[in-house]
Homo-oligomer: 198 residues x 2
């Protein structure tokens, strides 16, 4: 098969690096080529155009996230446990594809309608997963507020913001940080207790 050559992946990796650092409009094809000592034509050999490159990044990183989260959310166990697992899976996927997710959230208006549509669809899907799960928790009396959508936005804000400030700093392990974030989402500032390690 040899569907993915190493050389193609190198281009992709570099594009992820630069897009996540400088944004879509701020990164030129020449920048990408230069960064790996390749010619511009070489980039165009593997990808039709700039947006195609952008779509390819989504393809092998963020695009599968909604399905992944759905599977976790629809698993077995108590509702609150399932929700904890959802949060954990989301955080782990985020840190695994940190750079790509960053690109994903810089919703640059330069994309074609098709690109924007894909972008929005994925974000909408993730929001819907959270809303669905929160309604279940609500029916169990575990969530008191009526404004489920606002609550979902607040959670996604915390999780997505994590992408911006986290960069493997010392002191805390990745898992510790995740537990801290989950505790915040569930119990907020006043209830967040880091001595609780389950």
């Amino acid at each position: 098969m040899a569907e993915n050559s190493n050389r193609r992946d190198e281009v992709l990796e570099t594009a992820i690096d630069l897009f996540s650092q400088r944004g879509y409009a701020g990164t030129s094809i020449r920048d990408i080529a230069k960064a790996i000592n390749r010619s511009v034509s070489n980039v165009y050999h593997y990808f039709e155009n700039k947006e195609d490159l952008w779509l390819a990044i989504l393809e092998y990183s963020v695009k599968g996230l909604p399905d992944k989260l759905r599977n976790v959310a629809h698993g077995d166990g108590e509702p609150l446990d399932r929700f904890r697992r959802l949060l954990k899976a989301h955080l782990e996927a985020s840190v695994l594809h940190q750079r790509e997710s960053k690109i994903f959230f810089i919703d640059e208006e330069r994309l074609s309608p098709k690109g924007k549509e894909i972008n929005r669809r994925i974000q909408k899907e993730i929001l819907d997963i959270y809303v669905e799960q929160l309604r279940i928790l609500q029916s169990h009396g575990l969530v008191k507020t009526k404004n489920i959508k606002v609550l979902a936005f607040n959670m996604l804000g915390t999780i997505n913001w994590y992408l911006r400030w986290y960069h493997a700093r010392g002191g805390m392990s990745e898992e510790e940080v995740h537990e801290e974030i989950i505790a915040f989402v569930l119990y907020g500032m006043c209830g967040s207790d880091s001595s609780n390690d389950t």
Copy 2:
């Protein structure tokens, strides 16, 4: 004095609009000029260059935010009440300068070292205000976690994410949304109770 002409402010307003929608690199001087049926030279008459325009936007919007928040945080009253007021002031300032704040958080790498420095300094100042206040709350036993900084990041994530999804939708008033966010920050998903309106 006549320091600010209307014509200059029109340019500034348009730049805020376009920068917040398309990003810094994604907006050209020609775009701005065309949007108000003005010539390119006219933009350059009021602003030295593109980055100067960007700095001018910061100047009359986000730049004063740290001082504003500090004043609120250093006011009278119980620590937790002061913290509530801090959150409320932050949310109100965010929605007041929603577009400018959006620009501010798209940390485009295209800016000069000076521009990037200003950007980072303001964000750092705001973080420090939260960290300081949280340490006070911690010393009162109101915050249990040891990881104050992570907690501060989580809060700022919720608040800053608010800028992205809020656009005066129906159903809830601005104040209701703010109360909901404050409740989330303080008590999280499980404790958030929208029947509590103080």
